[in-house]
Symmetry: C2
Subunit: 180 residues, 2 copies
């Protein structure tokens, strides 16, 4: 095994940091997106975990977090979980080679109770069914001791039609650019 | 009818612009949130419509819009539709008095095909079932001629427990503030 491919500590290296360079731009979790949320998900035993503290502007009504932001966190944590779970199921040790990139086919989010704005939020993910190209992930989101959100996400391996803009020689995105 | 309460043109005044001042902070659609997406939804016959052009940083992978952002647009367009539909069902002419504020109880989003980043997106909403405190809204999202997303959202009237931080005398949010 080459030095470049040495396995890494799953609790220290985020799943999203193992996405291929050309697929690391996601608004929710891409390490290369300077304007995004940059969610980071980690293996934690047989589940995944992510922590995120919303900004003051991430509100729904005063005192509570936007449901759209919460859906976005569930979405990215789920696709990250799918990616790492599919790679593990293929027999690869964590951290060796880039992870396969999954996207969302469908998303269901239940807002069990309002999520307070202020505390760090913790998301857990678990792959509950898995094939080579599709992974179903269950996500729970917690504020302190209280679960406030439940999510179920059907993730699909990135289709070839979505990879075309990432081919070598294509211009890279400019996340900091603004439309006029 | 006083001048202040004169009905307004539903095609010219956004639903979100009729939310009460204290509930107009939403990250997705609040007119008072300087850091948010500021989605605007309008009545258009018996349905609602919203138009939104994602920024270059709202991407999933290069060339395509983030599924989390799309969920957020569906969410805010649905709660806006619920608000206006409930108000209409109560017999109020559009634009008279503040609209009731709805929040999301559950959200289902199906990504029918990838949504290209670049064109203006158009969302349509329709209230398909309605009671005094709950409205189910179906949303479709289109890029040009192509529907790319289907959403179904169960909206609930803002519960009293979520209004407590908006009571008179409470400090207003500071969306532009950042956590250290």
């Amino acid at each position: 095994m080459s030095e470049r491919q040495a396995p890494v500590d799953p609790a220290a290296t985020a799943i999203q940091d193992l996405y291929p360079e050309e697929f690391a731009w996601c608004y929710g979790c891409g390490r290369r997106n300077s304007e995004g949320h940059r969610l980071k998900s980690y293996w934690d035993g047989d589940r995944t975990v992510a922590r995120f503290t919303p900004q003051p502007y991430h509100l729904a009504v005063p005192g509570f977090v936007s449901g759209g932001l919460l859906a976005s966190l569930v979405d990215c944590h789920a696709t990250g979980t799918a990616s790492a779970a599919a790679d593990r199921a293929a027999g690869h040790p964590y951290g060796v080679g880039p992870l396969p990139r999954f996207v969302t086919a469908s998303l269901r989010v239940e807002y069990l109770r309002p999520t307070p704005l202020g505390p760090e939020l913790v998301l857990y993910g678990r792959a509950v069914s898995l094939s080579e190209r599709k992974v179903t992930v269950e996500v729970s989101l917690h504020a302190g001791e209280t679960q406030t959100v439940r999510g179920e996400v059907l993730c699909a391996l990135l289709p070839a039609s979505m990879a075309e803009h990432s081919a070598p020689g294509r211009a890279e995105p400019d996340p900091a650019g603004r439309r006029s």
